[in-house]
Each structure stands twice: as C-alpha cells, then as structure tokens.
Symmetry: C2
Amino acid sequence: MLYLVGLGLSYETDITVRGLEVVKKCKRVYLEAYTSILMAASKETLEEFYGREVVLADRELVESGSDIILENAQNDDVAFLVVGDVFGATTHTDLVIRARELGIKVEAIHNASVMNAVGACGLQLYQFGQTVSLVFFTENWRPDSFYDKIMENRKIGLHTLVLLDIKVKEQSIENMARGRLIYEPPRYMDIKTAAQQLLEIEEKRGEKCYTPNTPAIAVSRLGAPTQSFKAATLKELAEYDAGEPLHSLIIFGRQVHDLELEYVYEFVDDKEAFKKHVEEDQEFFKPPPYVPPPEDELSD
Amino acid sequence: MLYLVGLGLSYETDITVRGLEVVKKCKRVYLEAYTSILMAASKETLEEFYGREVVLADRELVESGSDIILENAQNDDVAFLVVGDVFGATTHTDLVIRARELGIKVEAIHNASVMNAVGACGLQLYQFGQTVSLVFFTENWRPDSFYDKIMENRKIGLHTLVLLDIKVKEQSIENMARGRLIYEPPRYMDIKTAAQQLLEIEEKRGEKCYTPNTPAIAVSRLGAPTQSFKAATLKELAEYDAGEPLHSLIIFGRQVHDLELEYVYEFVDDKEAFKKHVEEDQEFFKPPPYVPPPEDELSD
C-alpha cells in the first residue's frame, strides 16, 4: 500500500493521529522536500518525533525515480509525506497514477493546506477564484500568465490567492552546464518581491487588472507559531518586510462582505485609509451588466 | 484562549496530534454539530477517544449563545471543534470576532476540508473556480444563484465544486409555529438530487451553462473508509445511487488537462464515451477571443 500523508503546515505535531499511526507502521517513509517546507520542523525533528528514519525525496527521485519509491509497495507499506495536503502538486498525482499501473493500492490521509487554511485571514473561501502561482522573475524570464487569471477572478468580483515561488535544490545555469551537483541555497519569494512583480506586470500590461492601491493581504507563515497577516495596498506591501518565509498573498476581489472587512481590520495600520481603498477598488472594477450570449451561440 | 480545532473529514483519528493535545488540556470542549458531520465518528466515539466530555453546539448556541461558549475564556482554555477545517463557515468567523471583542486570544489548528481534499478526485485544485452551495429545493423556494456562479467558472474554463445541503436539527414549519422543540431527522443532499436540481435550473434558465451531457464527478464520503468517486455526465448522475452521505459534486470546466483526465478515467464506466463527452463539452464552451477593454475604460 502507498500512503500519501499530508503533514499540514508547520509543526511536526500537525500530522493527524491516523497519519502518525501509518508513518510508524510503514516499511519506508519518504518526505517530499521540494514543493514546500514544514516551517517549524526539519527532517531531524520529524525523525525524532516519528521514532524512525525518513528519506528526503527530491524532485529527481519523485519525477524520475518513482519506481524506487514504489518498490514492492504491492506487499510493503510505504508512506510518502507531503507538506500541506497530498494533492497540492501535479507530481503527486503522477505518483498515484504510476502506483495504479503497478497494481499498488493507494490511500490518502489528508491535512490542512494553504488552499483552505488561508480562510484564517478572514476572507471567505467561497469568495476565492482560481489560485495562481508567481515565479521568481529572472533577467530574461518574466512570465505574466498569472495576470490574466487574476483579471478573470477580479472581473467576477473574487479574491485571488497568489502562491509564491519556492526554489529548493536548484542548480545555477553554470553548475548545470558543467554537470556539477552543486545546489544554490533555497530561496522563498517574499511579499515584497511578489507585490513588486505584480505591479511591474500591471505597469507593462496596463489593463488595470489591479492598481497600486488595490487592497491585498500579506500572509506570513500560515499555521506556524509566528503566523501573521497584514492588510494593505499592493504599493504598501511592495515595501513591507514580512519576515521569515513562507509567504503568500491575497488580492482582494470587488465582492467584499462587511463581515470579511470587519475581520480584516484587525490586520490594517489605518482602518479608515484601508476602507477607502477597498471602496475605491470596488467602484473601479464594477462588472459590466450581464449580457446573455446571442441566440445563435445557444443553439446546438 | 479559544482554540478552533479542525477535525478533518471522517475518523476520530483525523484530528492532528497538536489538536488532540489541545482538546485534552482544555477546560471545556464544544463540537459544532450543524454545518457538517464527521462520517466515521460520533459524539460518543469522540468522547471516548479524547477521554473527556464534549458538548454539542447547535446553531442556536453558536449564533446566539456564543458568550456561553466564550465564558471566562480570557483565563480558561476552551476548544471549539469544527468538522473539516475551522474557517469553512461564516458562523466561525463571527465567533472569532466576538472573542476578540472580549479580549480573548484565538488560535486555529487547521485540518483538511472538502475544499482541499477534493483534489483526490484527480482534478487539480488550481483549476477550480469559486465553490458554490446547493440547497434543498422546496415547493416554493428553488433558489438558483449558484447557476450564475457556475456560469462564471465555466466561461473561464474552471471546474466548480458544488457543496450539497445538510439539514441538521431543523424544525418543520408547523412545529416552529407552535413553538415545539421537535426536530426533523437530519437530511443530507445526495448526488442524484443535486444533479436533478442542477438540470432543472438549466432547463428553466436555458442559458446553456451546462448540459445533461456535461461531465461531472460524484464525490461520496470524501476521506471516509468508503470514499468513492464516479465520473459521468450530469444526466447519468441524476440516476446514480452514491450511497451513504456525505456527497459533493464537481462540474467540469473546459480546461481539462490530459493528466487530470487520465486520473479521472479510473472512475468512469465507459472511458471512450466519457472522453467524447469531455471533448464535446470543451468545444461547446469555447471562450470568446480575448478583447481588451476599450481605451476609455482604462483611463482613470
């Protein structure tokens, strides 16, 4: 049996009781260590807490060496630990498909992930549109497909959760070219960089998907002991020091309920100024009146 | 301190290790018992597992009697247990706001909820739009605001998670009028009813938000020992017996990746027929070509 076990967001004790029972009984335990990190735990503290060895699974092992992970899992129990919930990344879906092909049973033991825990910021989960990802810009690669998705969400009044890039065990181009297995230190995109990249693309595209005054929430270390939220405009967040990683960002949609605002005020510096920005943002992005599709599009 | 503790989806052991530690040390423990249910556990099995008393908190207690829950929580630790994750319902947000007003510290201990665990169906979470809720239709009340939201999601190619109504501790109109505290047996909307209601509203509105042949996934008992998925058309699901509650439904968006489809094929009766429905659905809902907003809308 292959067990996919979500570890939650931060502490080693964020694993579920059922998940812990599984980890203790499995023959081999892998920890997926490249799409996210556990903020208040390490491989060593996990091993101590579980009372057993944990094998770090990097991207190469999961994507190219999945048969090593799945070896004899038809008979042995194997645990694959994932920070957050288990189906956050496509590579995990791949692993399940491969397991099925090999006739291995799969069970998922779910846990919290940023996708649902972000409700702690006070914005309601059902008011979120699609989640987007923001990668580190380089000199030559500044992809902006997130912009269209945020636009789609904002046009229908919805909030957008923006997940920020994590670079773990990446090689420099030079080291890669020379085949040297030397890795760069891990990098986690911070709020400041995210807000700057967002504003740069707005500047470039100029479609007013959002403005420097669009309200947003900086989510820092969600689920960790030092979790914090800061609600401010994008311009303000472009200069905000959110401290240690991990960070995420939420861009407001027009559709903000009073209950949401009341909750979010806890995280603003200047309530009146923030309220004004929210009101302006709501006005600016008023949806066009609904126009039903023309008749000929409706006929089959 | 007020601890909001997510219980996850099904087993009593779905609580996190940290959550369990908190429950054991708190002076009072409430279980929110009206927005969802734990599928493989009851108040009694929870009490046995925790080794302590648990007070059921119904809607009335949470919404009108929150000061009873929060009594002296400035000094005592109080746990408020929520099935799924803690910020799934607005009433929990209310409770936190009330706690703040009373100067009570609040800590959330997150867990899996249907909002993230639904990734187990093989569709990618970042391909979902806003989540909608479907309530039981009555003779005189057949609200269809979900229809516009599904339309918004489908227009931009996204999947829609449809949460199905749960009626717990409801009074009949007659008993309510006579002030009799007699409650109806709990009711949980099943897939069949959901698909029928969806098709009824499409029939009525006729805007081709979806069709009887639109592909969907019936999600039954997510996270429970008997969890199952069935991928089929809405018309097929309108006659599908999904067994015991709880059920949810996912309506496909046009944007289906091959990896998603490959995963979902595991849950279909007839792969070729399903594939054809997916392809037809993708064709039918092709987005209009992107048109940038006119210049005058862009100026400030």
